[in-house]
């Protein structure tokens, strides 16, 4: 199979794996990416491709803002290759309470140097006349945009391949110290192994604090100009961080094709990707509640995907004590596309023992007590404590989520 010594094995060629492979290969490391399906065909293909600054906590804001800057560089002069659109986001406030929340958000984003504009009702309807009457206003974040993630994943992976990376179409059966066991019985060895398998990461390492959150998405036929911005309800934040129960939130996106992408939903305790009619009905009722004319649009397709969620809503980026040489780049929940590029930079900095553009601490896997951080480095000879198995996952995750565990 692969003859020469490998520096890094990356498990997973979704947007995270592809971004990590690209960043590591660009630094001269010999990278092998292992992906059992088509590149970018998991959650990467199922999400909305929204590039959005999220500010539910400082760490999330830092990561998403930094990553958005990187996206602008990546997209650069060829936005059409990623099907990038700088559509901006309008956070819609249904009532005065939500408008107050919007004002707080505006202050946070502005303090971070991000352009945004608070909209009263008149300004909101001037921009988006399709919204139902009676809303209080909103917050326009101009720098947000969207891409078509399968293409971006492919572009990143191709850059890695041009820098000497290899793509292996195989299934990883197990992660070992400094290597992996493949389904065909063969082994690959490397100094570093990066686990970037999204919702499937938990199958390889059950001790990871990951929970699958199923989401449904709907796409319509082409209706150019129907809405101009990605429209998200401020109530989304309440829904997105619920730790249990099914929920839907208003989230609508105009694709460059003129098609309207409609989300979003969250369900726990299921890894079945079958589309559930009842969730479709609920999601559409909710969306039509915000944009009545949506009812007349033709829905072409519905699908579902699995987000990999951690108890505190922040991804796992950094060393993992479960195996020697193991790094994690997973648990990005609903923000994987946005934060993929920053993830790759943070991971690369850690492997090279450098400082990154932002603090790495909030995302270190070691913040979950049983996952001790290994002293990171290319020479790895420090004996590690084996982690406790993380068996009964959902209740513990819920408890942590409700309490919003703070980083060490």
């Amino acid at each position: 199979m692969i003859k020469q010594p490998i520096d890094v094995i990356v498990i997973g060629a979704g947007i995270i794996g592809a971004a990590c492979a690209e960043a590591l290969a660009a630094r001269g490391l010999r990278v092998t990416v292992i992906e059992q399906e088509t590149v970018g065909s998991g959650a990467t293909a199922a999400g909305m491709g929204h590039l959005v600054v999220m500010d539910d906590n400082a760490a999330e804001l830092a990561l998403s803002a930094y990553s958005l800057r990187l996206w602008k560089e990546l997209v650069g002069d060829h936005p059409q290759r990623h099907e990038y659109s700088r559509c901006g986001t309008i956070w819609v406030a249904a009532d005065e309470d939500e408008l107050a929340a919007a004002a707080l958000k505006a202050a946070t984003l502005s303090a971070h140097g991000l352009a945004c504009e608070l909209l009263d009702a008149a300004a909101l309807y001037a921009r988006e006349p399709q919204l139902r009457p009676g809303l209080a206003g909103g917050l326009l974040v101009r720098g947000d945009g969207l891409v078509y993630p399968p293409k971006s994943a492919r572009i990143l992976l191709e850059r890695a391949l041009r820098d000497g990376a290899l793509l292996v179409r195989e299934r990883v059966r197990a992660i070992e110290d400094h290597g992996v066991l493949l389904d065909d019985g063969s082994r690959l060895q490397a100094t570093h192994v990066v686990l970037a398998a999204g919702a499937a990461s938990g199958a390889l390492l059950p001790e990871l604090p990951l929970q699958a959150k199923k989401g449904h998405v709907i796409i319509t036929d082409r209706y150019p100009g129907f809405v101009q911005h990605q429209l998200v309800e401020l109530g989304y934040i309440k829904s997105a961080h619920a730790a249990h129960g099914d929920s839907v939130a208003f989230n609508v996106q105009p694709r460059p094709t003129g098609q309207i992408l409609i989300g979003s939903s969250r369900q726990f305790d299921t890894t079945d990707l079958a589309v559930e009619p009842a969730m479709m009905t609920r999601m559409l009722r909710h969306a039509i509640g915000y944009v009545p004319a949506l009812a007349e649009l033709n829905v072409l397709r519905c699908w579902a995907g699995l987000r990999a969620a951690t108890p505190d809503g922040l991804p796992l980026i950094g060393p993992c004590a479960a195996r020697r040489g193991l790094w994690l780049a997973t648990g990005h929940e609903g923000l994987g596309i946005t934060t993929s590029l920053a993830t790759a930079q943070l991971l690369t900095a850690q492997i090279f023992k450098e400082n990154a553009a932002i603090s790495q601490l909030p995302y270190l896997p070691g913040r979950f007590q049983h996952l001790l951080a290994a002293p990171a480095g290319i020479e790895d000879d420090v004996p590690l404590t084996r982690p406790l198995p993380f068996s009964a996952m959902p209740p513990t995750a819920n408890a942590l989520a409700d309490g919003r565990a703070s980083p060490p």
Partner: protein
């Protein structure tokens, strides 16, 4: 709003009408859903009462008079919101229909294969042009070339001629020796033989080319001429319309959405037309291409069986047998030849909804990979046209069917009843 039926029939072509008739005659509350403005499916398009076939008229007049039969025209099944329920979209509303037994009689569509110029205005399917003409599409005085494969080509040509088209030829890709064998085998089905002789009379004077197929359609903004392979030679034929189709493919989307198993390209059924899912039946072209006689026989069996009348259904089975043999001979005679797979150039569009070319597609090794990167199959036809084409061209198998099984108004999905309430 919910509507309850003992037997719900999807499709008002010969199989669906025969099934509805059999079930209704035995007292079942029957619903019939069809996406066209009038019943009749493809072969009886324009309404059964308009057809020369007496069977159409008899079925229709009985069904129309029946108080226990409800027709829903211009209505499409979107998906199953719950077991034994279907969400159906009408022109202005959405209905949730509940059924005891479901009969899928959704018929067939044409196999359309890409060739250079096939996207030009003026190029249609063969059955496609016949269907359009029956809806009033002007063909009077137009020079029409009918091409592709199957006995349908003759019926199409005859219909067009009746409406004033000037038939410049019929090009059949099957080789002559297979056609001769098929013709001889019609002796086993006298009514089919009589039908062919009638067609031959109606088409006297029209050039018929066996062993011939379309290489390319030419024109700037509309069709001007067709380049044809005729045996060993090539000919260019000037024409206004090209009606080209390569046989029929069962419409299996609804059956698949309900979890029914297939046998090859058609829905698997047992002796009583039962599918692999309880209380679901399939009759007509959906369970195997075989023409109107087979469809009527199967519809009757399915209708009786769905009404719980297995004995009567089994008695009706013997009428079906003769037509099964015919169906087998059809498939063998008109199987598409290998050259049809190689007609597309790199810049020939294969996915018409998303304008994806053969050159882009052949770089991928699976339907899913191609779909994600090129959008092939993601358009409003939901992969029906390109799915069949890529199956023939690259051997790809499409994804599982997901809801909605046809483009659906968002409001229809939003209006689906909560199945926990009545």
């Amino acid at each position: 709003m919910m509507h309850d039926f003992d037997v719900l029939v999807i499709g008002a072509g010969p199989a669906g009408l025969a099934a509805a008739h059999a079930a209704a005659a035995h007292g079942m509350r029957v619903g019939v859903v069809d996406d066209n403005p009038l019943a009749g499916g493809q072969i009886w398009r324009g309404g059964p009462e308009q057809q020369r076939d007496a069977r159409a008229q008899t079925l229709w007049s009985d069904l129309r008079a029946a108080a226990n039969v409800r027709f829903m025209q211009r209505s499409r099944v979107l998906y199953a919101p719950a077991p034994k329920q279907l969400l159906v979209q009408t022109p202005d509303a959405a209905l949730t229909l509940r059924y005891g037994r479901l009969i899928i009689a959704t018929g067939a569509r044409e196999l359309l294969l890409p060739f250079p110029g096939w996207t030009l205005p003026g190029v249609t399917g063969a059955g496609g042009l016949q269907a359009l003409a029956k809806g009033g599409y002007p063909v009077d005085g137009k020079r029409v070339l009918v091409a592709g494969s199957g006995p349908l080509l003759l019926a199409v040509a005859a219909t067009l001629r009746e409406r004033g088209a000037q038939l410049v030829g019929i090009a059949e890709q099957a080789p002559l020796w297979r056609l001769a064998r098929f013709g001889f085998s019609l002796l086993a089905t006298p009514s089919k033989l009589a039908q062919s002789l009638r067609l031959a009379r109606q088409l006297s004077g029209v050039p018929y080319f066996a062993n011939s197929f379309v290489l390319a359609a030419h024109g700037d903004d509309a069709l001007r001429s067709v380049r044809l392979r005729r045996g060993a030679k090539t000919a260019t034929i000037a024409c206004d319309l090209l009606a080209c189709g390569y046989g029929l493919l069962p419409n299996v989307e609804l059956a698949l959405a309900l979890g029914c198993a297939l046998d090859g390209l058609s829905v698997r059924v047992d002796e009583l037309q039962r599918c692999s899912v309880d209380d679901v039946f399939c009759a007509g072209e959906g369970s195997g291409i075989g023409g109107v006689d087979l469809a009527l026989a199967e519809g009757r069996v399915a209708g009786l069986a769905a009404a719980g009348l297995s004995t009567l259904a089994l008695a009706a089975v013997k009428h079906r047998q003769r037509w099964r043999g015919f169906a087998g001979r059809l498939a063998y005679t008109f199987a598409p030849r290998a050259e049809l797979r190689a007609l597309a150039d790199d810049d020939t569009i294969v996915c018409r909804c998303e304008d994806v070319t053969h050159g882009e597609l052949r770089q991928h090794d699976s339907w899913r990979g191609a779909k994600l990167q090129t959008r092939c199959g993601m358009g409003p036809c939901q992969g029906r046209i390109c799915g069949a084409a890529t199956g023939v061209l690259y051997g790809w198998r499409p994804d599982a069917v997901r809801m909605p099984i046809v483009p659906a108004r968002a409001g229809s999905i939003a209006a689906a009843c909560d199945h926990t309430t009545v």
